[in-house]
Symmetry: C2
Subunit: 277 residues, 2 copies
């Protein structure tokens, strides 16, 4: 059996009881180590699970899947994924290889940023398409995510922005994008398009929510305008950003709980234009 097990978002104890039982029963346990991170390292997980973990980088999952699946028809193998196994990154390829090799598989779900983002108070069914914000380079500055955010917003839908992790070579350390870096890139797009006379679906005054280390004891949620978030420091990774659209009064009240005093002031200012019953 191949178990795909979600680890959730915080620390070692965010695994489900069912997941922990499966991990402890498996003869080999792989830890997917390239799309996301917990606030604790591999060693802390190993100690808590009482199992050695084999780090599976992108190369191993994409080209060494046979190694992961070896003997999984006669023994149990676990593949651990931060968040949910079918969250922001899917592992369809590994599942399909297992199916084709006649190996049964079982998914043990957990929270991922795709649903845990709801804790900021914005309702999940008011979200549109999720977008990814990637690090710009000198010569490559894609803006398509801005257009998707505007499209969602025009339809009254919030946008979850997953903030990019760049690692061109597998031996490079990962670079995680902060909320302020993402807000800064968005503001650059807005400024450029304003100069070109475009009508803007999102501006520096659009209310956004920055989230850091969701599910961890020191998680931080900050609401404010895009401009305010461009200068905020939410600490260590992982960060995510939400660009809000039409806000329900209950959503505004929840945003206030997690607002800085100065952001609060701004939220009040925009109430009348964004409130809908």
């Amino acid at each position: 059996m191949l178990y795909l097990i979600g680890l959730g978002l915080g620390d070692a104890t965010d695994i489900t009881v069912k997941g922990l039982q499966a991990v402890r029963s498996c003869s080999r346990v792989y830890l997917e180590a390239y799309t996301s991170i917990l606030t604790v390292g591999k060693e802390a997980l190993e100690e808590y699970y009482g199992k050695q973990l084999i780090l599976a980088d992108r190369d191993m999952v994409e080209q060494g899947a046979d190694e992961i699946l070896k003997d999984a028809d006669v023994t149990d193998v676990a593949f651990l994924v931060v968040g949910d196994p079918f969250g922001a990154t899917t592992h369809s390829d590994l599942v399909l290889r297992a199916v084709n090799a006649g190996i049964p598989y079982k998914v043990i779900h957990n929270a991922s940023i795709m649903n845990a983002v709801g804790c900021c108070g914005l309702q999940l069914y008011n979200f549109g398409e999720t977008v990814s914000v990637v690090f710009w380079t000198e010569t490559w500055k894609p803006e398509s995510f801005y257009d998707k955010i505007c499209k969602n917003r025009a339809a009254g839908l919030h946008t979850l922005c997953l903030l990019g992790e760049n690692r061109k070579k597998i031996y490079e350390p990962p670079r995680f994008m902060t909320v302020s870096q993402a807000a800064d890139q968005l503001i650059q797009i807005i400024q450029r398009r304003r100069e070109e006379g475009e009508e803007l679906g999102v501006t520096e005054d659009t209310v956004c929510v920055g989230l850091a280390r969701l599910g961890a004891d020191d998680q931080t949620i900050r609401s404010g305008t895009l401009r305010q978030l461009a200068s905020c420091d939410l600490g260590g990774p992982l960060h995510s950003l939400v660009v809000t659209a039409r806000l329900h009064p209950l959503e505004v009240d929840m945003l206030r709980v997690n607002s800085e005093p100065d952001a609060l002031k701004h939220l009040r200012m925009i109430d009348s234009s964004t409130y809908t019953s």
Copy 2:
């Protein structure tokens, strides 16, 4: 402290280790009992947790919040929610009452249908707005969810349909909608609009995915056309339905894993028109 704890989607062991530790440390434990269900009952949860659970129906959560929050500033109280506390139903109101009363709160996340739906092989970032399908009555047959599905589909986005639970009075037993009932309502809308000469964004041949008891040992996933799903029997609740849009080849391969032979045939037929690279 008020703990809002997600129970996940399957049985008693789908709670996280962190969540279980919190439940066992609390002096009162409420079980939210109106928006969703696990495959096990209250008694099984009580035995597993070693705690008595107080059932919280909609009336208690909406009007008896003071009772839930009583003394939560000096003792620990848990509020258990199937799925994630901020999944399909949010509990912002309870959180805001706690905040206003000076009671600290902590969310312990878990999987919800909003992210676990990814296990059918459709990628979560290709989903648009989530819709709810409610039971029709003789005189009330809303169709707005059909328009939202078409809008998502036109933008290349899949739609998760949460299937309604009707309970007008709190003493009525809940009625859970099946995938075939939801497909049947959709087909009625399609037929009516076809007669009126409307251009149809979704038809009886649109590929859909029915999901039942996600996360449970007997979970069932079935892909097929809307017409095929209208006559399928996926067993007991909870059911959900996904209406697909543009499909990536990897998504099609995953849908095939969970298809009936006849649905498979149909998927092959539509491949060429729906594939994008």
